[in-house]
Amino acid sequence: MAEWEAVIGLETHIQLSTESKIFCRCRADSWGQPPNTNICPVCCGLPGVLPVLNRGVVEKAVRLAAAVHATIAETSYFARKNYFYPDLPKGYQISQYDEPLARGGYFDLPLPGGATRRLTIQKLHLEEDAGKTKLAGGQRYVDMNRCGVPLVEMVTGPDLRSADEAAQYLIRLRQLLRWLETSEANMERAQLRCDANVSIRPAGAIHLNPKTEIKNVNSIEAVRDAIAKEIQRQVREVESGGQVEAWTLEWDEDAGMLRKMRAKETEGDYRYFREPDLLPIRLDEAWRTRLLATMPELPLERRARFVREYQLPEYDAEILTEERSLSEYFEAAARAYSGEAKRVSNWMMNDVLRLVREHPQQAGQPQTAALAGLTPAHLAEILTLVDSATVTLATGKALLEKVIATGTPPRAIVEREGLAQISGAGALEDICRQAIAENPEQATQYRAGKTTLLQWFVGQVMKKSRGKANPQETAHILEKLLVG
């Protein structure tokens, strides 16, 4: 294998998260709906109907194009891709062809070890999805719910060099799509689909060999597996004196293997021509400016800035920028907090993220939705309460969930529930005395030399004080009382 290099390009289909379909008013997403319940004469291609372009589709696609540094066409056109299939109700797919929305961008893919691979983005174009067909009991069933779902097709150059890189690209692409609210990008729901073009060549060569195309892979793991298997197959083929033929392969998820598709299903002259039912997309300066003015900072830029501006370790910055709402949450909390940002980061990575993951999430919702009442300012306030020793660390952590549930400011909860830290000789000493009195056996053992029991006694005091006792002071008092 060492003498071979894999050359991989990915063609992704991205379902845009608009309210309605690309050319009619049906809802764009019909995941889980019974077949043929989210359809209308337009998406079913009845005689005489006409498509009307959803501007929201263009807007989402333009922002994605800008994020991958592509050149956005001032004028782009729709075309008809003609072919017959039962789930293609018009007998042609409305797509873009010779004049797509955008061309010529790039995507910087961070690789393990700190390097970056710059992938070329050849083009982005808009198109409508087709429906689904299913064979069962010798019958062919058609579901048109997906007909007219808005898609962006984004094609990379042959720039990826391994199955792992391909998987990494999809992870980073998914991050970007969710970040920009372009797509929910859930591969299992076919909101992000991927075809892979795979070839091999001697390491260091610069020519391209015949490639195979892998279709129908619907998870990142499957993309990695399918590409890895195909690279192995091509190497075996070539090393045994054979040749790689330009096949189209289909990934069989259940069997975990690739199958050659019948030639009939793949060849064809689509007889493209300009779609006469739609006007060209003209992105005038005002529209473009308005769209790009609201572009958010992108994940990798934000990651770098977090390192620079908040002195976070790369690791923290990476985790905090995995998702946009989380990064915004961090930044808002760090700004509201007067101490070091790293402390906010620690709390977020240790506690806040655990809480986020414990809360079941609705598809398409930002992660911070799980934090409900806990605003970034509240988080900063909890940290301040802990820093000033107003509450113990344990109380501080317990406050997180209380604030999530109620939205009440942490300081108000502390006052109302009397959660302020107990310290000073009086109150704390009484609790310590009680703890010793209630556990004479352990006290005797301690005095007999088993001093490790001190921490156990601290625990008892914490329990009795419901976490409010200052742990250092408690240990100090207990030590004194147990000895005496």
Binding site: P47, G48, V49, L50, V52, F84, G91
Partner: protein, 534 residues
């Protein structure tokens, strides 16, 4: 003169004055239909016996389906509204025949094809909805060439074919032949048609009625079963220019269901209808006094003068308009006119083949009754059984010229020719140019209506019947065909005006001026043969 022979504006006027009712108008039209229509067209094999055929050639056969009950309900509700003193729409109570290429909710919408023989549309075309909102009463769906593919109505799957009311052994023209014949024979007062190469104007000329092809995008195409989407125009067929203006006013304008319907404001076409033509510059072009076509065997370009009687009618119209104060500009070159048909042949067929893809037997329309194990075999059998010869020819040619290896030679070149033809009009209408025309005046057709069967089967020659109408379709400019007398055989002659984009108001002024200048002519009171004339 029956109620059904009145124009729309006369009917609305009488209705407003309470002199008649919508129901009485409807009854009059239905009586006329019973009188002249003949047996209803069917998809059964044709021709029948010689005797039956002879009988068929004495009748009009305009309607594929009549919705008399639906019409009566509408007429009654209009009469009730009038009884309550409610305001009446501009077309209140006027019987309307809809070319059966438009979807009308709840009615069979067949496109004159076996493919859609049993298709009942679940929605109405925007243009039809707007006419109904203006008060028009839809009577039924009228015949056409299958999917509008033809210029004689003979290719309809529904036979007997429509006969020309002026002589039912002749064609009514096409593809809006049922529309033109119905309006000419008093079987409807208005009809809505479509024009892709002349499909409104040519039958209007052959049947002696007024036909307007508006600017591309002036009227929504939503609900119109598509032929060549980049060219198809929806327009009125009427008895006079005033009705044409009324009807366009009711239909035109932007439509949220058609992105290609222009948002250009719709003027009040009635306001300046009789403002006259003084100072207008009207062009005549030698390229519209001859037809040029390739010889079927050698491919050499042949040239032929148009029928001298038709030419004389154009020159007479020019003289009358000059008399009314217009300036006639002769010898305006329109050099790319000759390429109109070949370019149309390519562009329209590529789009038509694609537009016919959806008829695959899967969702609606005809599906073969034979059991099929293979999907492709099912497609082939369904389409093979249900499409007539014209759709099949168009699919074959359309697929051929759009195939990857030929597309550059044919489709791309045809699109460039379209641009050249558009350039002819832009040069002629250029306010800073040599000719500075306000309108171009020409014959609508090279000849008057030909005999049934005379050209059918020669799809190349048939197409050249559209040579003078197709340039306006390519260019997208509006064109109005109006009756301009009868030939020696008593068949109507049509002339047309073409103008700048969205300048329909000027066409109406020209047409109205011509009508007024010929009001006293004997041919104005001639009646079609089926009504006892000729």
């Amino acid at each position: 003169m029956q109620l059904c022979d009145l124009t729309a504006h006369e009917i609305v006027e009488r209705l407003r004055r309470g002199e008649t009712s919508a129901e009485a108008v409807l009854d009059s039209v239905l009586a006329r239909i019973a009188q002249v229509e003949g047996r209803a067209p069917r998809t059964a094999p044709y021709p029948p016996s010689a005797e039956e055929q002879a009988e068929d050639r004495r009748h009009v056969h305009a309607y594929i389906s009549l919705q008399a009950e639906r019409a009566r309900e509408r007429a009654r509700s209009i009469d009730q509204a009038r009884a309550r003193d409610e305001a009446l729409g501009p077309l209140a109570g006027v019987p309307l025949a809809v070319k059966d290429i438009f979807c009308v909710e709840g009615t069979p919408s067949t496109a004159a094809s076996r493919m859609l023989e049993h298709f009942v549309a679940p929605y109405s075309a925007t243009s039809v909805t707007r006419l109904e909102a203006a008060g028009a009463v839809v009577l039924g769906k009228v015949n056409l060439d299958e999917f509008t593919y033809g210029s004689s109505n003979e290719s309809s799957a529904f036979q007997p074919p429509v006969g020309n009311p002026w002589d039912p052994s002749r064609v009514p023209g096409g593809s809006s032949g049922g529309s033109a014949a119905a309006v000419a024979a008093g079987e409807a007062v208005l009809s809505i048609g479509t024009d892709t190469a002349g499909s409104i104007r040519q039958p209007a000329a052959f049947c002696g009625v007024v036909g307007l092809k508006p600017t591309y995008g002036r009227v929504s195409r939503y609900g119109l079963i598509a032929f060549a989407s980049s060219i198809d125009c929806v327009g009125p067929l009427t008895r006079d220019v005033t009705d044409s203006a009324l009807m366009l006013g009711a239909m035109a304008g932007a439509d949220p269901q058609d992105g290609t319907a222009a948002s250009v404001p719709v003027p009040d076409y009635q306001a300046e209808l009789e403002a006259g033509v003084r100072g207008m510059r009207i062009g005549l072009s030698p390229d519209y006094f001859r037809i040029q076509y390739p010889d079927a065997k050698t491919g050499e370009l042949r040239e032929q003068e148009i029928d001298p009687q038709v030419k004389a009618a154009v020159l007479d119209a020019a003289q009358r308009l000059a008399g009314a104060g217009a300036e006639i500009v002769e010898n305006v070159p329109m050099p790319n006119t000759r390429y109109g048909i070949p370019a149309y042949f390519v562009v329209a067929r590529v789009e038509a083949a694609s537009n016919l893809h959806r008829y695959d037997g899967v969702k609606y329309g005809h599906r073969t009754a034979r059991p099929m194990a293979d999907l492709r075999a099912m497609y082939r059998a369904s389409r093979g059984e249900a499409f007539g010869v014209q759709p099949k020819l168009r699919i074959l040619m359309g697929m051929y010229v759009s195939a990857a290896q030929y597309e550059k030679h044919y489709y791309q070149r045809a699109l460039r020719v379209r641009t050249l033809i558009r350039g002819d009009f832009e040069a002629a209408f250029d306010p800073a140019g040599l000719h500075r025309l306000d309108a171009l005046l020409a014959a609508t057709t090279p000849t008057t209506a030909f005999e049934l069967g005379a050209l059918y089967g020669d799809s190349v020659l048939m197409q050249y019947a559209d040579l003078l109408t197709v340039p306006a379709d390519h260019a997208g400019v509006p064109a109005l065909s109006i009756p301009a007398g009868l030939d020696r055989g008593g068949m109507p002659i049509g002339i047309q005006f073409m103008a700048r984009d969205f300048d329909e108001a000027r066409l109406f002024r020209l047409g109205r001026a011509y009508e007024m200048s010929t009001a006293a002519e004997a041919w104005r009171s001639a009646r079609p043969k089926v009504l006892g004339g000729g």
